[in-house]
Amino acid sequence: MANILDAIKEKRLYFDGGTGTVLQSMGLPAGMAPEKWNILEPGKITELHKSYIDAGCNIIKTNTFGINAEKYENYEELIKAAIDCAKLATKGRNDVFIAFDLGPTGQLLKPLGNLEFEDAIELFAKNIRLAEKYGVDAVLIETMNDSYETKAAVLATKENCDLPVFVTNVYDESGKLMTGADAVSMIAMLEGLGVDALGMNCSLGPDKMLDILEKFVEYSSVPIIVNPNAGLPAEVNGKTVFSIDAEEFSDYMLKMSKMGASLLGGCCGTTPEYIKKTIKKTKNTAYRLPDFKTQTLVSSYTHAVEIGKKPVLIGERINPTGKSKLKAALKENNMGYLLNEAVSQEEAGVQILDINVGLPEINEAAMLKNAVFEIQTVTALPLQLDSVNPKALEAAMRIYNGKPLVNSVNGEDEKLKEILPLVKKYGGTLIALTIDESGIPKTANQRAKIVEKIAKAAREYGIDKKDIIVDPLALTISSDTENALVTLESIKKIKEMGFCTSLGVSNISFGLPGREKINSVFFAMALEEGLDCAIMNPFAKTMMDVYYAYNVLSNKDPACNDFIAYANSDQQETSVTPKETEHSLKYVIEKGMKDIVVLPTQKLLETQDPLSVINDEIIPALNKIGTDFEKGKAFLPQLLMSAEAASAAFEIIKEKMPKNIVDDKKSVVLATVKGDIHDIGKNIVKVMLESYGFTVYDLGRDVAPEVIVDYAIEKNCSLVGLSALMTTTVPAMEETIGLLRKQNKDIKVMVGGAVLNQEYADMIGADFYAPDAMAAVRISEKVYE
């Protein structure tokens, strides 16, 4: 039996077409899942396959699209039956291949849904192990509309068999998957994961796929699959017909074959007739596999950043070196601090974010994995995973949604052995440092030799130079004034060798005063030599000035648009109205003016001690707005804005307070109970309590009773707040209260949520019922009196 990958190299292969449409014409009842016929009507499934083989197709898909272990207890029986039907249809035909059809789980993965990434991998893996066991020629992962689920499916396949892997995703008319990924980001991720062919299926007819195909042709180095629908369904004379008939369909497929699509087939609405006409029209079209592409790409779950076209900024602020606040946040597992750093750097204009959480006191692998996951919920920027710990890199690369920038590898043999296999398995663009066992070489030529060594080793793993970005290292001129020139010469040389470059620009001035003056000029010089990526602080104004000015001067900013926008926003930020500086802190908090809380707070701290500011300014302001809220004169959004302003003031005041005075004894544990994922009310209560100076331990949502109880006891809290929005989850509240009473009768419980009232609260044994956020604050104050 020929190998399918060899066959693809020789000639164009054709997938079959729609399954549901054809089976319904054969009597499949409306509403019945097609996979059930694998056991109920195997003869018809075989007949379906034969009809497509007779039409001329070379690859038939097993009738397994909708099967998984969560949907069907007898999933093994269904899968085996599906493969048996396919084998029966292909008996005697060594020119027809069987692709195992792996469809979506039907669930969204976290953070958007509830399915854990590893659980999704295992769910797919169960199917793949059976596909391997019962024997197919390839795996087709299809109709995936989420990049993360696609990655889970590819990893499951790669980790459980050696079969060729094909992937087709569902794109909408805007050229994106439902969860936002465009074609270039999918190509970047999937090629990094090592798939053998990729493309699109379903949702669109061939007419709407043409534009998207252009992107595949421009960026894909592996064969391109196109399996469109037969257009859109419509009702004509009481019957359902698809808007594109077989003739028109095949005309479009001819166009696509000439554009560069490699494998052709159909999806919903297509029949053997569509495939037959397509084959007839395209069989004589010249067949060429895609050329190897040389673009250097990193991607997130929405888009890719191409390195080498225009300089790229990598935000460096999530790195604990020299940053006490970040170190503290990491030790306290305060993810909120990191997330705010991520968002603010994105708003400052970087295109990639560096994530480094290396601290000796913490579990770096767990922290980097968690940080990457959480940061990807607040920003769609591609990330640079930055660690010297291969285990940390591996943990983060595995769960990263996209193709990451991996910082880093160097010329040391051990490092190459540790890092290159990770990039091979998970994909990634690698930062290669010009260091080896002898240290950092003094000359550009010596650094270039290390680059050659790294590139050679990478090639042995199948990693091309396009996936290597070289960092020639900027050593400080305070130790040797030649250092800047050596780095600049190295950048030039590395560019001539055909690699992209990256640099931690500000390292050049370490140990000197007036660092920004040196950094900004060095940055301009490096850009002129061809620097592609700068790891830098986007809040360093002179560096940003250089970045935007350089781009416009080197004709990389069409119509000067970016520069104009930057210059205009720069002007707005530097103008502070006198009025804004005149308001008292009390006024600013009452009015919820979080953005101008800094000046009045600092002014007060010049003449008053921190506790006085809290007791005489902040708390009275909150009480004023709180009382207005209780009387119906102010509304919830205003209350929240005041609470945010108060919390911002607290952050400034805390820095001035001696540690032993910061009162962390007033603490509350909050949780949405097991089975309930609503948390907006709980989050509002959290904001209010924090603004009043309480320490809040927010356990999140869908929290098991024992977790809440154990945490409250561990943290020595006197008060637990439970939230539930659904009547079905109130029993979980009761269970939690019951468990708490058994273990510690002194801990008080307040409950809240749309389904609750005083009566319910009494019934389930709660101490307090909080109908709104202010009530929760009053209750908490009472408990801690």
């Binding site: 989420d146 968002v343 607040v378 959004p637 659904m726």
Partner: protein, 193 residues
């Protein structure tokens, strides 16, 4: 079965001011600059799609009925569908971009999160109004009735989405708590008079 589906441009969705005020928990004539700022950010990420089918209504005795997604019991829906032999079953979603925005705001700004969540819920209802008009055209209908109203259980959401082929056509799913994803999605049954 014919699926009627398409996109609703955001600027064609009208938000009912009372619905908006209810969600924001403010008086109906109350407004703040922040509401407009949050709405501007929300609009950018909305990708509103609708999907509907026409089904026969089968009364199976007692309070049991079948509206194309299998037998279930609901006295309230049965009453709502009085004298209706057919119904539209339809849904809208504002898309996953809204979920992403809300996830982000939850972390960085509870105020913006609350305002945006409220506005997007009101927008989803406005989208249902628009989808209803598109799907029914000139046909006279009963008021639409959604899972969660009365005894029309939310546990029926998976079956409704399967009937609509919503997972495949719109990427909509239902989690184990029967909450739809993307979060700002609504389904309904609307009896044809």
């Amino acid at each position: 079965m014919t699926f009627n589906y398409g996109t609703i441009p955001t600027n064609e969705i009208l938000i009912n001011p009372y619905e908006r005020a209810k969600r924001l928990q403010v008086a109906s004539n109350f407004n703040m600059d922040e509401f407009d700022k949050c709405f501007e950010k929300l609009k950018v990420v909305v990708d509103c799609k609708y999907l509907g089918v026409k089904v026969p209504v089968k009364r199976l005795g007692g309070s049991s009925l079948d509206c194309g997604f299998g037998e279930f019991e609901s006295e309230k829906l049965l009453k709502n569908l009085k004298d209706c032999n057919e119904a539209f079953v339809f849904c809208v979603t504002l898309g996953i971009g809204v979920d992403r925005l809300l996830n982000k705001l939850k972390t960085i700004s509870p105020v913006e999160y609350f305002i945006t969540d409220s506005l997007s819920s009101a927008l989803a209802e406005g989208a249902m109004d628009k989808a209803e008009k598109i799907i029914k055209g000139e046909t006279l209908t009963r008021p639409r009735f959604s899972p969660g109203f009365g005894d029309f259980g939310i546990e029926l959401q998976p079956r409704i989405l399967e009937l609509l082929n919503a997972p495949r056509l719109l990427g909509m799913t239902v989690n184990k708590s029967y909450l739809m994803l993307p979060m700002k999605s609504v389904t309904a049954v609307m009896g044809i008079i």
